[in-house]
Amino acid sequence: MEANSRYITQLINVSKIYEGGNGTVALKNISFAAVPGEMVLLLGPSGSGKTTFLTLLAGMQGPTSGEVFLFGKQTVEYSKQELQILRAKRLGFIFQSFYLIDSLTVIQNVMMVMKFAGANSDFARKRSLELLEKFEIKHLANSLPSKISQGEKQRVAIMRALINGAELIIADEPTGSLASKQGLEVVDFLKNSAAKENRCIIITSHDERITRYADRVLFISDGELK
């Protein structure tokens, strides 16, 4: 595989070995690419290398060997500040544990990432309220995360990932903490978002029921894509 700027993210012959201990090999010579508008599902058991894969393509760590491209540029060539701006404006993250800030209200959690992207408070509040309404949780705007349900938390987390117009959404086990019906709704929503808003969505999971929503399904086992 060769580097191609039409890909949002691209891994070429990437290996990752964690130093220390036994020198764990997390990824072995992986090549991968994703384009805007597609939803890729990465299936694999725990410890198979899914999370390492996601963090590499988000530029959160570098590969031991091989090349990782993000928005047409190698991740190792980005400065720390450029990576911060990418994370704020062009990347969106959804986590299994939601990772909302417990001491901030729902709307403050959403507004916070808009501020990271440079929005002023008034605009951030207005836009956040609009999105909360769209997600049918406007009434929870001033609630603390500890006072809302798991499903509602995940909706807030998705809002937070989408509100800055991210081109690449990285979702690490997004359905893991949800009831099965809620989980499928989340995946369905993300699928629609990819199609309508031309976003690239990469999901890791070990839940095989969501394969039908993905444009592409990859299997990872012992650090190798199959």
């Binding site: 999370t51 996601l54 963090t55 959160m60 760590q61 720390k80 500040q81 911060q84 701006i85 990418l86 994370r87 704020a88 404006k89 990347l91 993250f93 986590f95 990772y99 800030i101 417990d102 001491s103 901030l104 403050q108 916070m112 990432v113 990271f116 992207a117 937070r160 690490d172």
Partner: protein, 366 residues
């Protein structure tokens, strides 16, 4: 915003921190006001005296911690120097007094009650002395020994009637008292000596010429203009008290820095996950640092507010319990301490902020 929510989340802990900060700020405010009070009480006598020149025994530099003895006969010789309006002798002696079976010490200042020159800077109660058997006491001394106007106090073998109470005469470790020059000389037993002369010159006279004439006409003397003499006395006072106050102030500043650094470090540890999430979501460089700095400044501001609310009642209580503790407070002192505490609050963030660098966004994927 986030800093405020962190404060709200652990109200009791941060309230206690703010109280700790307020105690340090109170200590600083109190030490500065004591310094100002002692400074005022030690040199106000010289400042308010309005003497143009001070004539002392050679090698003496001040009246606080120098011994100076000059012949009484110098008065006439000084008065004869061209340009001298008046030369007023003053005699300083340390003396023990007794009142209602309590012993104390005073810095007795003997002066000529007729001219009034060399007398108390400000009488706040009663009147100045008129005769040799009268005495004016410092307010703090009178309060400490519960002496009222009209009371008699025993100075060595003599009994003196208290006619007035004055201020600007509390040197913290000892207080001025004012008696007649004749009585001072009688108490010490040297009728032919005084400590120094306060010289007033005729307006428009050349001070340097008069000073030269004094050096030519009188032996074994030193002459200071008012400014130099004031500085000499101030320096003498500061050399005694300033190092101590300085050390205590530095210790309280260090304690304050340690308290703040510790509490901020604990907050960062507790919020480690939140900060990692923020970093993963693209928080700009300085955003988390800003949270820690704001947290520190808010705590310091709350502590300062407590300190300012408590300061004046505390001073009033301390002065009531211990009258010799004389303080002097001003808006500029409060500003200096507030500025100092805010600077400390910024410095206190240095170590905690360094630990923020060790928070990696990757941590939330673990």
């Amino acid at each position: 915003m986030y800093a405020f929510y962190i404060l709200k989340e652990h109200k009791v802990r941060y309230l206690l921190t703010a109280l700790g900060i307020s105690l340090c700020a109170l200590l600083m405010l109190f030490l500065i006001s004591i310094y100002k009070g002692v400074s005022y009480g030690s040199v106000e006598y010289v400042r308010s005296g309005n003497a143009d020149l001070w004539v002392l025994q050679k090698h003496a530099t001040n009246i606080l911690r120098s011994t100076s003895l000059l012949p009484s006969s110098y008065k006439e010789r000084l008065n004869k120097i061209q340009g001298v309006e008046s030369a007023s002798p003053v005699f300083f002696i340390l003396a023990s007094i007794k009142h209602k079976n309590r012993n104390g010490s005073l810095y007795l200042t003997g002066y000529d009650p007729k001219s009034g020159i060399g007398g108390p800077p400000e009488i706040i109660k009663g009147r100045n002395i008129l005769s040799d058997d009268e005495i004016v006491l410092d307010k703090a001394f009178a309060a400490k020994y519960e002496i009222k106007i009209g009371d008699k106090i025993q100075v060595r073998d003599d009994s003196l009637v208290v006619t007035g109470i004055c201020t600007g005469t509390n040197m913290f470790v000892i207080q001025y008292a004012f008696i007649s020059l004749k009585m001072a000389q009688y108490i010490i037993g040297y009728r032919l000596f005084v400590s120094c002369y306060q010289v007033h010159v005729i307006p428009g006279s050349n001070l340097e010429n008069i000073r030269s004439a004094i050096y030519s006409g009188l032996k074994n003397v030193v002459v200071f203009d008012k400014k130099t003499f004031l500085e000499n006395n101030l320096r003498e006072m500061e050399s005694g008290i300033l190092p101590l106050l300085f050390i205590i102030t530095i210790i309280s500043a260090i304690v304050l820095t340690a308290i703040l650094s510790l509490i901020l470090s604990i907050s960062i540890l507790e919020k480690h996950k939140d900060f990692a999430i923020m970093k993963a979501l693209g928080s700009p460089h300085g955003f988390i640092t800003g949270i820690v700095v704001r947290l520190s400044v808010m705590l310091s501001f709350a502590g300062l507010t407590f300190a300012l609310v408590l300061f004046f009642p505390m001073v009033s209580i301390v002065e009531r319990i211990s009258p010799e503790v004389s303080t002097k407070s001003s808006f500029s002192q409060i500003l200096v301490v507030s500025f100092g505490v805010l600077i400390i609050s910024i410095i206190s963030t240095i170590l905690p902020v360094r630990s923020i660098r060790k928070i990696y966004p990757l941590e939330i994927f673990k």
